[in-house]
Amino acid sequence: MSTRSGRVPRGRARRRVGTVVRLIAALILAGGLYAAFAPGVYAEEDPQLSQAAKDGKAIFDNTCVSCHGRNAQGVTDRGPSLIGVGSASVEFQVTSGRMPLARQEAQAERKPPYWSDPEELDQNARLLGQYIQELGGGPQVPDGNLRAEGGNTLARGGELFRVNCSSCHAFSAGGGALSSGKFAPSMAAATDRQIYAAMLSGPQNMPVFGDNQLTPDEKREIITYIQNLKEDKDPGGWGLGRIGPVTEGLAIFVVGVVAVVFAALWIAGKS
């Protein structure tokens, strides 16, 4: 198994009510704690943690430990080890609400984050990230502006987007289906940092785009293109969800054919 053994069992325990999940989580937490203590080797406190990481560890032990285990070493069939995933991964998963996971299914979905207050969310995500970072290193999202400037930014970003991203997320960044119930999510709600973090860390089935493959500048160009694409109002009227021929075909029947048939009924009607 790889370090990211986050392969989710394909069983569809879908319609579990939240309380049941929490109950099971609590039971497994107990088991997980036991398992974490049993090897005894990694159980010691690491004295070299910074203050921020210690704060992060406190949050971790409160909200994440049930699945990812003590010191983030993972729990078999519950959650993968987080050693070496880096703060980028933490930031992506936590700020997009994917973690904590609501239930085990084909893939984690974006949902309202654990902390509803954006500042608190940001703060806690960074603390958690710091903790995971100090545990095992890994990719980090740089601070500061993640947009690129300059004349051909959009064009270059667009070319990179179309070669690397659109095959799964579609030209419109609206997402698309993958095999067996998995999907590439829509980027409609994705922030600059989330997109950057996703490219760096390759969450779930997304391939990793390391800094040697797409340089930080190239990542910034892609982000600039995506955000511009999302904000750019369609010049030709309503974009029909930018889905393409499927919604266009639907529109010609629902609007076009219905309208002309209505007109035909009026013309041929007796009165």
């Binding site: 993958l178 095999s179 998995k182 990793v208 493959q213 904000e231 750019d232 010049p235 013309i267």
Partner: protein, 384 residues
């Protein structure tokens, strides 16, 4: 649906002239006492059309209801004018140059559509109302002749055709028939060959393009071809993270352009455990299998490269799922298992994605050991 019978009863008083049945002798059209409508009806009758019911919508002209309809139609036509004017003004005066974001230029096309559409819609609606509400209502019956022409005409036509054959006497003159056929045959062949022949190209001609891609050393002076990015730069193993993938092109001139549309390749860096599975599966396919002088087989360490061109219909199969190690083609949903020589595991594809045998050259860049060993992309007849 109302019927003729009922409409007749509706207008018993209105159009007494409309109730003549057919079959009367032609009237004298120069009779000055005839009204215009009587002439029209006579014309229709001569064309086999009987106007059986004809009545004004408003027997008493100028009623309130009639004027209301007139006003409505007039309003529609005026709206046409207003919308048409708005269209012209918008078309001529409005700024439409592309500007990113939300701005008034984005309203140019919608406003054109709405004003133009409303102008046509109101014009059309006005005409329909005019035709339906103001024009006198009419029911006309046209005779229809069933089947073929009258027997006399059929007979005459038959005789005429037979006569033509007789005149040329083609059956009596076998020499002429044969000579004509012999003369026409080459002309016919020429007529077919002339437009088609210039189009014919031997698909297995120069370079046998269906069997070779840009990774063939032949296109690189016999040297192994590097795997390069779109901008032509080479790729080192460090450049692709584990769990990552990169679209690569042959490192030859114009290698990343559509001229080499058969060459885009997906270079995948498998995670350690997945790579072990992939390596153990290599032996299943002789072409990819390790050999004594090449113990890695088609792979290089944890790197594996497959043609990006789907073996079903040629779309780029590039939806790489790094945990399940599946590669999905977005056009027809064929799914390939990366860790088992890209075996098709779902969907309409029948063949594995061809593997590009790779290694790393002395400068530390990925190169293709050879070209693809089977034709890439969709299958065709002479592909074994």
């Amino acid at each position: 649906m109302s019927t003729i019978g009922s409409e007749r009863s509706h207008t018993a008083g209105a159009g007494d002239t409309a109730h003549h049945s057919g079959g009367q002798p032609d009237i004298d059209v120069h009779d000055p006492s005839l009204s215009r409508f009587e002439l029209v009806r006579e014309g229709a009758r001569r064309d086999g059309v009987e106007i059986v019911h004809y009545a004004p919508r408003f027997p008493i002209p100028g009623t309130k209801a009639e004027r209301r309809i007139e006003r409505t139609i007039a309003l529609l036509f005026l709206l046409t004018g207003v919308a048409g004017l708005a269209f012209v003004v918008i078309f001529v005066a409005m700024r439409f140059a592309y500007t990113p974001g939300t701005n008034s230029a984005k309203l140019f096309t919608p406003l054109l559509g709405v004003t133009f559409g409303v102008a046509l819609l109101t014009l059309g609606a006005g005409i329909i109302m005019w035709a339906k509400k103001l024009l006198p209502e009419e029911v006309a019956v046209e005779k229809r002749h069933l089947g073929g022409s009258p027997p006399d005409d059929k007979k005459i036509m038959g005789a005429q055709l037979g006569h033509i054959a007789e005149e040329t006497a083609i059956s009596r003159r076998p020499l002429l028939k044969g000579a004509l056929l012999l003369g026409l045959a080459p002309v016919g062949v020429a007529a077919v060959v002339l437009p088609i022949a210039p189009l014919i190209k031997d698909p297995h001609g120069r370079g046998d393009p269906l069997l070779h891609t840009g990774f063939d050393p032949e296109y690189n002076n016999g040297n192994p071809v590097r795997l390069v990015r779109e901008d032509g730069t080479g790729i080192r193993p460090d450049d692709v993270s584990a769990g990552g993938q990169m679209t690569v092109y042959p490192g030859i001139p114009h290698g990343a352009t559509n001229f080499w549309a058969d060459s885009p390749t997906l270079l995948i860096h498998l995670r350690e455990a997945d790579a072990a599975v992939a390596r153990s599966n290599l032996a299943r396919i002789p072409l990819n299998a390790p050999t004594p002088d090449n113990p890695d087989g088609g792979m290089w360490q944890n790197f594996i490269a497959y043609s990006k061109i789907c073996t079903h219909l040629g779309c780029p199969a590039s939806l790489y799922e790094q945990q399940t190690n599946r590669l999905l083609c977005p056009c027809h949903q064929s799914q390939f298992l990366i860790t088992d020589n890209a075996k098709p595991i779902f969907g309409p594809a029948t063949r594995r994605l061809p593997m590009l045998p790779i290694t790393v050259d002395d400068d530390g860049f990925f190169v293709a050991r050879s070209d693809y060993q089977v034709p890439i992309g969709p299958a065709f007849w002479e592909r074994s």
